[in-house]
């Protein structure tokens, strides 16, 4: 239950502005791939093309291919809604639905799509997803309370539970820990290591230690300057990127000489 992502010469545009240029990368199933790079280099933009979420912004479009196990996400007749059901996403800031209880939040993907599910199965799914997100023990006695009453770290894990309740093939995480304290961050990093047993995980992070800790593969993005598009500079096994990168720019960024 996880799929491989391949992109070839992918260009991402906002209107006529090219934000990301010629990205060719292969993301293997059941691994954690981290995107690192300075702010504004197109990591998040690129991440959002992997489940067609960037289209939500007016004027944004893509040239090139994104293959999910060989199937082009931008092919003719592909429905972005179906793509997003297979490629889940967790955002920078926790965003549980404020009108819903914890339980309803986990079931949101099912209920919002007007799918019927027997009560026993629902309860089962809620418990499974919350256990998967390491949140079950903390909330099992207050499933009917609003999700917005949880702490920031708990809310983020609730959002992860909500995403994995849809049983996606791939899980995209856009700086999932940047709004969290170190303890919650640790909880989520542990969770990522567990989740990679089942899912393909792509994580954008500004925290290089985090990339080093959780990822198997690291991809470094950079921009030449403001106004020019972001590029994929180097991608490789995390150990190699952090110890002996091929590119000078990668080494400079990782050793903290810029960015």
């Amino acid at each position: 239950m996880s799929k491989r992502i391949e992109t070839t010469d992918l260009n991402v545009y906002y209107g006529s502005f090219r934000a990301v240029e010629d990205v060719t990368i292969t993301i293997e199933p059941r691994t954690v791939t981290a995107f690192i790079g300075p702010s504004g280099c197109g990591k998040s933009t690129f991440l959002r093309t992997l489940n067609r979420m960037h289209e939500v912004i007016p004027g944004a479009h893509v040239e090139g291919e994104v293959l999910l196990d060989g199937e082009n996400l931008y092919g003719v007749g592909v429905d972005p809604v179906r793509v997003r059901r297979q490629v889940g996403m967790v955002f920078q800031r926790p965003n549980p639905f404020p009108t819903m209880s914890i339980k309803e939040n986990v079931l949101a993907g099912i209920r919002l799509n007007n799918k019927r599910m027997p009560r026993a199965e629902q309860d089962d799914l809620v418990e499974r997803s919350l256990r998967g997100a390491n949140l079950w023990e903390e909330v099992k006695n207050r499933l009917e309370l609003p999700g917005s009453g949880l702490s920031g770290g708990q809310q983020q894990r609730l959002c992860i539970a909500r995403a994995i309740a849809m049983e996606p093939q791939v899980l995209l995480m856009d700086e999932p820990c940047s709004a969290l304290d170190p303890i919650s961050t640790l909880a989520i990093e542990d969770l990522i290591s567990e989740l990679k047993e089942q899912y393909t995980i792509v994580i954008v992070t500004h925290n290089m230690q985090q990339a080093a800790r959780v990822s198997d593969v690291t991809a470094f993005f950079n921009i030449a300057g403001t106004g020019s598009p972001g590029r994929l500079i180097e991608v490789g096994p995390t150990d190699k990127i952090f110890s002996a990168p091929d590119e000078k720019a990668t080494e400079d960024y990782i050793s903290g000489r810029f960015g």
Partner: protein, 354 residues
């Protein structure tokens, strides 16, 4: 060389404080002086006394605070006084209107008033049941037409049309519609029904059309603003779960905004329920209960109030009493609507707390 702390006067962390009784003492004293001056020179003019008292209080507090507490505290107190004064000034007409309506309307606030129409009544007695029903019919039908149209337009503007040409022109025309004088709306509805059915046609429904013209832009504007306040993150979270756009709007955006949407709708109803001019033209006058809003004139409360006050019969007082009770009833209906709206809004509001 002067340092920052020197320019800010002294290094002291303490400053003088006026004792707590200063405010009431100065307030009462300045009010008394105001009353005294007003009764000596203006024959006890109450408004003059209040204004004079307020100005005196402002000056006295300013001086006292400046001397004892310093310039920053003085301006703080000045601002507090002005803001409180403005608040009281704004409340005065409200309280006065409520008092007038209750004290004059209570005389006929009886069972007869809510069970009888004005059919075959000259002089005392009778009631306004025909006007109350009429108002409910006309406003209800107007709401039935305006709320869906207004809400759907607002959803289009905030969710689908962001910034495109059609949306911009709709926004422009909605703004123009907001400024339409209500009498024009009435003439429009009257003329429209004249064209469709026949000249001189009056009905409750014609009135509803006129009220809709006034109501739709209010619903659109308030709902659009509220929908824009829904954080984009929630929409994105929903899209990321593979939820189609329309379901995201129906299940996430609207429920999150529901309490604001309901307040906007209640406000728009309150805005039109007291309209007189368009109903005068489009729905007309009658003394009897008319339960068919699609034919024959239909009385409404504002028109009833106007008619009773402007054209009293021989027993003038009876007509005027009925007019005041009509006004009171109208206020109560709006209050009731507000109350219901708040209850509904609270029922659906986003859950907070832990």
């Amino acid at each position: 060389m002067t340092t920052l702390s020197q320019t800010l006067a002294s290094d002291a962390l303490t400053s003088g404080r006026l004792p707590r009784f200063t405010v009431p003492v100065i307030a009462v004293a300045s009010l008394l002086v105001g009353i005294a001056v007003a009764s000596l020179f203006a024959g006890g003019n109450l408004a003059l006394a209040a204004v004079l008292g307020f100005v005196l209080y402002l000056l006295a507090m300013e001086t006292a605070a400046r001397v004892v507490e310093g310039a920053r505290q003085a301006s703080d107190r000045r601002a507090t006084t002005l803001v409180t004064g403005a608040f009281i000034l704004a409340l005065l007409p409200l309280g006065s209107v409520a008092w007038e309506a209750i004290s004059k309307g209570i005389a006929r606030f009886d069972l007869n008033y809510f069970t009888m129409s004005m059919r075959n009544i000259v002089g005392a007695g009778g009631g306004a049941v025909h006007a109350i029903y009429g108002t409910l019919y006309v406003t209800g039908l107007a709401s039935l037409m305006s709320i869906p149209i207004g809400l759907l337009t607002a959803i289009y503007l905030s969710e689908y049309g962001r910034g495109n040409r059609l949306a911009k022109s709709i926004t422009f025309f909605v703004d123009v519609m907001t400024g339409i004088p209500s009498i024009v709306a009435g003439l429009f509805a009257y003329a429209l029904m004249g064209l469709l059915i026949g000249p001189g046609f009056k009905s409750g429904f014609s009135g509803s059309i006129a009220l809709s013209v006034l109501m739709i832009p209010v619903v659109v504007r308030s709902s659009e603003e509220i929908l824009r306040l829904v954080p984009n993150e929630l929409r994105e979270a929903s899209y990321a779960l593979g939820v189609p756009k329309w379901l995201t709007i129906v299940r996430i955006v609207v429920p999150t905004a529901i309490s604001g949407l309901i307040s906007g709708i209640i406000l728009s109803i309150a805005r039109v329920i007291g309209e007189t001019a368009p109903l005068l033209i489009a729905s007309g006058f009658t003394a009897s209960l008319n339960n068919n809003p699609f034919d024959n004139p239909m009385m409404t409360l504002p028109v009833f109030v106007y008619d009773s006050y402007a054209h009293p019969g021989t027993d003038v007082q009876a007509y005027w009493d009925r007019a005041w009770t009509g006004a009171l009833t109208l206020i109560l209906i709006v209050m009731l609507l507000n109350l219901i709206g708040r209850l509904i809004a609270r029922r659906f509001a986003p859950k907070i707390g832990r």
